[in-house]
């Protein structure tokens, strides 16, 4: 298990390097000198950046300087927010996004397992049909529409109650987090429900379920101890990649609900062409996602003995 973890971490490191390189290459494709294009740069920042990235040096040299900076975890200074370091921006805003994302994943995973199991039990009967219809909707409706609908719902609830029970936008209390994370998790929940359902139906046909029945176990026991546990495994394996979907979905939800997360900041930076912020956040997010996938895989190892003992 240790060797496996180390191997995965090494591969993850290489992937992050690839992401950083791709980021560098992409940003170097930007027509013209990034500093020339933007009027917002003060001479002070310009001097700073020129020094830092050696903008007068060759591309290769710049690349190595860039890699060195990334390796040290130094993402530079924002173009548009004078003298604010990208590291500070990430430190200030990422926890918000992470909280939102974790809550969303939590909703999505519990919901997905629950609904999926339910549809499998009621296969081809009314609850199954209703839930699967909603799932198809959940997969087909873009996250920003959910976000808008969620907000609309809150507005209506609040105006019906005549008081602001759940805040419509903003961040701070748990009440603020509820609707955005639910909305953010919805698409993933639909996806996981589908996966869980087919996984459950596959497991039902496994021989060991037949064995369990031949052993004289009660249906409830078979369901919980044999079927459910094995059916959840594939759901866990896709959780890692789904973190990526949730993270990027977070951009939109943060915009709509005016949440001061890193996603909203990233979108803003993109619109203002704030190069250092874009590069820093991309590499940071990339590394985060890669290691989330690894983390989920390692957790999976603890659930599935076949992986754990390899």
């Amino acid at each position: 298990m240790l060797a496996y973890t180390l191997k995965r971490l090494l591969a993850g490191g290489i992937t992050v390097w690839f992401i950083a390189t791709a980021t560098f290459v992409a940003m170097h494709q930007v027509p013209g000198d990034p500093l020339m294009n933007d009027k917002a740069v003060t001479p002070e920042i310009r001097k700073n950046l020129e020094q830092k990235y050696g903008l007068d040096k060759s591309a290769t040299e710049q690349y190595f300087i860039f890699l060195g900076n990334m390796l040290r975890g130094d993402f530079g200074i924002s173009f548009t927010q004078q003298n604010r370091r990208v590291n500070d921006i990430i430190r200030d805003h990422f926890p918000v996004s992470a909280t939102l994302g974790l809550l969303a994943i939590f909703f999505a995973a519990t919901g997905g397992v629950l609904w999926g199991a339910l549809t499998a039990i009621y296969r081809n009967r009314l609850p199954d049909i209703i839930i699967m219809f909603l799932v198809i909707l959940g997969i087909s409706v873009p996250s920003f529409v959910f976000a808008a609908l969620g907000q609309l719902l809150l507005v209506n609830i609040n105006s019906m109650l005549g008081q602001s029970l759940i805040p419509v936008a903003g961040w701070g209390t748990f009440a603020h987090m509820l609707m955005p994370s639910l909305v953010l998790g919805l698409g993933t929940m639909a996806f996981l429900t589908r996966l869980m359902r087919s996984s459950m139906l596959e497991v039902v046909n496994e021989e060991y379920i037949k064995t369990a029945r031949a052993k004289g176990l009660s249906p409830v026991r078979i369901f919980f101890r044999h079927q459910l546990r094995n059916a959840i495994l594939p759901v866990i394996t896709v959780l890692g990649p789904q973190v990526a979907a949730i993270t990027t979905g977070g951009f939109v939800v943060e915009l709509v609900f005016a949440i001061p997360g890193l996603g909203r900041y990233f979108v803003q930076a993109v619109q203002q062409l704030d190069y250092t912020v874009i590069m820093g956040t991309t590499v940071f997010y990339g590394a985060f996602l890669v290691f989330m996938v690894i983390l989920v895989d390692i957790i999976y190892g603890f659930v599935d003995p076949r992986v754990r003992l390899e």
Binding site: E206, T211, A214, P305
Partner: protein, 345 residues
């Protein structure tokens, strides 16, 4: 005391599918004698597994449906019980093991827990007690280092070991019948021998009856006291192992025999496969199911379902074939012509 521990009467099972209803088992009757082994033989898809699974009540319903019949264990009806009632005998009075031990055990549960589970549920033991007993059971099935093995997962076992573990699991509550559905098909030959030996040994020490499903006549010859030959959802011949081997009376049994390599008979004997394929069980033929492949087919066989004639010489020997009719050409002639065919081929 009734010597018949399990009596199955006129069992029929259907599956509804897209293509129509599959009549997988069509009026099967047999009985199992206390402490003896009954073998069910027949080619793939003839309904062997469905028959025993129907008795155990583990046919998936839907699409499965038991359309008629009864199965009595010591006089108590087994068919049509609620899951709760059925669990009073499943795993307690009847244990079952399956063809592929690799997929028949839960991959995410330790072997020990899976064996212990039966005891916890049926004998109301604590997991600690049950786990200790699981070690004893594994030892009984000759698994080395049983104490260490109980904490392992199925993927850490070899196929033969898994089948032993399956047997240990099915023996947990000292069942009076063990149903073994092709227990050795998925194993390689040397392991096969060991598993059969183990079953033989356990039968003697535990005084169990065994229902052994196989399509290997050599296994039948070695293990069985009584034999039922199945074809296209019906039992076409049944009797003692001697009856079946030395007085084979159904053309299908004869066909099976001549398709089997034998180390008793003459070595020069050619193996003759049975040509053709079994009938479509969506719409089974009106007459004899074997008609299309039968070398002795007669005009009446096509439309007339043969009755289960008792073969004259021994009492419990039956064959579902018109050749057993009193007016039919003598059986001797048939086996004679069979010989001719062998010689000619």
């Amino acid at each position: 005391m009734n010597n018949r521990i399990l009596e199955v009467e006129d069992l029929s099972v259907e599956f509804s599918t897209y293509g129509g209803d599959v009549k997988a088992v069509r009026g099967v009757s047999f009985a199992v004698t206390r402490g003896e082994t009954m073998a069910i033989v027949g080619e793939s898809g003839c309904g062997k597994s469905v028959t025993v699974q129907a008795i155990m009540g583990i046919i998936p319903m839907p699409p499965g449906r038991i359309t008629s019949g009864s199965a009595k264990l010591d006089g108590n009806e087994l068919l049509g019980l609620s899951p709760k009632e059925a669990n009073e005998f499943r795993g307690i009075q009847i244990g079952m093991i399956f063809q592929d031990p690799m997929t028949s055990l839960n991959p995410t549960m330790t072997i020990g827990d899976q064996i212990a589970e039966t005891l916890v549920v049926h004998r109301h033991k604590t997991y600690a007690e049950a786990s200790r007993q699981a070690i004893d059971l594994l030892e009984k099935t000759h698994i080395p280092e049983a104490a260490k093995r109980v904490t392992q997962y199925p993927f850490e076992f070899s196929g033969g070991m898994l089948q032993r573990a399956m047997i240990a699991q099915s023996l947990a509550c000292n069942p009076s019948i063990l149903i073994a559905d092709e227990p050795t098909t998925a194993l390689d030959v040397t392991i096969q021998g060991q598993i059969l030996e183990l079953m033989d040994e356990l039968q003697r020490t535990e005084n169990m009856s065994i229902i052994l499903i196989t399509h290997d006549l050599a296994v039948v010859a070695r293990m069985a006291d009584e034999v039922a030959v199945m074809y296209a959802g019906q039992i076409v011949e049944s009797g003692s192992v001697e009856d079946i081997f030395y007085e084979s009376s159904h053309p299908y049994t004869l066909g099976l025999k001549s398709a089997m390599p034998s180390n008793i008979g003459d070595r020069d004997k050619k193996l003759t496969p049975i040509i053709g394929s079994p009938p479509d069980l969506f719409s089974p033929p009106h007459g004899c199911g074997y008609f299309a492949r039968c070398p002795y087919a007669m005009r009446m066989c096509e439309d007339m379902q043969p009755t289960n004639f008792s073969v004259q010489r021994t009492e419990d020997h039956h064959a579902r074939c018109w050749l057993q009719h009193e007016a039919a050409p003598a059986v001797a002639e048939v086996s004679q012509s069979n010989q001719d065919k062998d010689n000619a081929g």
